[in-house]
Symmetry: C2
Amino acid sequence: MPTSPFHGALLTDLYELTMAAAYFENKFSAAASFELFVRSLPPERSFLIAAGLEQALEYLETVRFQAEDLEYLRRLPVFENTSAAFFDYLRDFRFTGEVWAIPEGTAVFREEPLLRVTAPIIEAQIVETFLLSTVTFQTMIASKAARVVMAAQGKRVVEFGSRRAHGPEAGVLAARAAYIGGCAGTSNVEAGRRYGVPVFGTLAHSFVMAYQHEEEAFRRFNRLFPQHGVLLVDTYDTLAAIEKIIQNDLHPTAVRLDSGNLLTLSKQVRQRLDDAALGKTQIFVSGDLDEFAIERLVGEGAPIDAFGVGTALATSVDAPALSGVYKLVDLESQAGISYRAKFSDDKITYPGRKQVFRFQNSEGTFREDIIACETENLAGGEPLLHRVMKGGVRNGPGPELQEIRERTSRQLGKLPRDCVRLHRPNHYPVGFSRNLEALLRLVRRQVEHPMRRPMNSVRTPETP
Amino acid sequence: MPTSPFHGALLTDLYELTMAAAYFENKFSAAASFELFVRSLPPERSFLIAAGLEQALEYLETVRFQAEDLEYLRRLPVFENTSAAFFDYLRDFRFTGEVWAIPEGTAVFREEPLLRVTAPIIEAQIVETFLLSTVTFQTMIASKAARVVMAAQGKRVVEFGSRRAHGPEAGVLAARAAYIGGCAGTSNVEAGRRYGVPVFGTLAHSFVMAYQHEEEAFRRFNRLFPQHGVLLVDTYDTLAAIEKIIQNDLHPTAVRLDSGNLLTLSKQVRQRLDDAALGKTQIFVSGDLDEFAIERLVGEGAPIDAFGVGTALATSVDAPALSGVYKLVDLESQAGISYRAKFSDDKITYPGRKQVFRFQNSEGTFREDIIACETENLAGGEPLLHRVMKGGVRNGPGPELQEIRERTSRQLGKLPRDCVRLHRPNHYPVGFSRNLEALLRLVRRQVEHPMRRPMNSVRTPETP
């Protein structure tokens, strides 16, 4: 088993714990269902690739309050009226609930539940913050990676962004998610060890600069890594560096260009390498690349074999957050199921546990998704949510990372073309079933007091 | 001592390890100096607040390769020609170097070294990735927080963004950095326990929705947290919720508005609370806020006492990456010091170890910074870099977090007004000393081969 990072139960928001205390003191123990979904997609995104479920489930199986956590909480003034019994409860805290989820590597859209938790409400609440940050972050990066990989049109893309990631752990998770999204691998070694992501590395300018002569650096590096040597050629003068490689009869696997006009330079370098019978030496480029820069380079015929993408990928720089939410949809007690929805001005939440059905056309292309009540069965639609955990225990080991990555690739191939294009993609049609719309109306009427605003001012969710 | 997150030595890029292997096999053991700085500031940023040093030093003291790390590395094809002695070296790896740094909470600018590492080159290289991601991420968040806090003009700002942070650990680091930047605290409990950041929490919509009647939820929550109860009032209808609070004779510490027109609603809510003799009940608002939204609300006289800021703060959403780099500046061996610089087309690195001198005018306002050679002593300037680690051991414990936060506040008060404004701030003048410019020219002439492009095509660094 891989060594896991720190999974303390305090990786949560304080209000999860104050609410937990209030539920505990009030003996409120109904089973609650919460659904995790993305409210709306950022500009230039028309689909997401689900990712992060594996770490979410690993957390749910292992989350514990440590003695030092409880000691800290007991000292907080906010808990001055909270009973000792509550802290005893936390000491023995385990997640015992059920989880349904859409598999990692699946294309998903706005308002589709990626994950549903059904558990005693305190448990379901305490895990909210961790689940949101884990699932939405990896989903965001996998989605960005899918765009970058599509732009490269079959050329390899390697994730290089650890140094710009939001802390060292974010770099590891980003590398995993980028691989799911279609990257060939990462520079992040821990992601290699922990998750089996293929790792790639070249050399830095500092190595070239450490030696008095650039060619000495090249020779020494190439000797140790004859099959894996990628030489960085832009430290001083790119074309001069290529001449040194040729003059020294080095046969690097690839050369890396990290600055300058990559279109012009890659053509000049390719020409010189070919002239010198170094046709097998590939050209690897990096340096502030994103899907648009790659699209241009590929479109202009730059003879580039692989792209290293850092900041843009590891931070999803143009859309560095998704509007992920985790919403209460029902409560189940001896009295039966009670549906919950939210109707505040600009944010509506549909009630009840849901299933997402995906419909394909006769060529196998995805046509539309319908979000329905969990109990519905829409003929011809593929249900996307599956039960992955029961009683706090996983059904079994999750799929291999490689398998998830292949699922992404198959899913991308089935999305409508106008939905996957990089610029101003069309939105994919996602609707709500008639039963679900009816349930929403019903719950709305049940809300204790009449609304102060007229019914017709309520935003109607988009339908296909 | 706080429990630390996982600090494995594999939290690095593969090329750090391939370069390490090449240095090791070639018996290259000179002491190298690397400087970590931000190349250029994002739009709408005119200053940064240094942060993350504490975690960087903690890492340098504790970084180790575990047995499972070495096992993983040995199996990588890239290391097939690497000797067993190299892995023995990694097994015993310790960071033994010296570190100079600008204290956390200091205002810093482009090209100013935040951190300088001098160590045997393998050590200095292996720690690069972790140092960059730790220091630049926290610096980015502290800088964003400073902007948000300035916009609030004395009203409290609480960091609420853990759920949108780039994974759970990023949320903890973001909370620490936001506190350094001037936030009153965070919702992140682990940041409270680990770093002593004050924690804040209210309740979520789910708590209100869990009870059949909103007022029941309010009563139950308020009873348990009479001194700390912040009631969320926008689940169904904000003004109706306020009436319930009044009718039930509740006296919450504050009410929280999370949606709708916050200006109009806060005025209406303030009026009703005051009319009902609830003048002490504060108004707390949240919901997709950033420095610009807060500036508008404050400017329009919204009667708001505190702001909860999530996504914008925890991801620095408008500038989610800084161009942090870690560059080799010299090598020291028995033969003496050998300077290093980089001259590729669009990226120049100044050679040699540096010191930053800050000059104030007679009113105590910062006037300009000069980046100089380490050996220079510029009269009247305050040197910003201090030695914080020697022989791999820290000078002593770092400053308290509270002390760092106060430093930020004092620093912001000393920056020129036109530099701290939110919109189109002026750049603060940062120059290079004449000696440093001379050293750059000298190193340039020493570079082994003549440049292919004329000297005058080289970009000249900006001078004040």
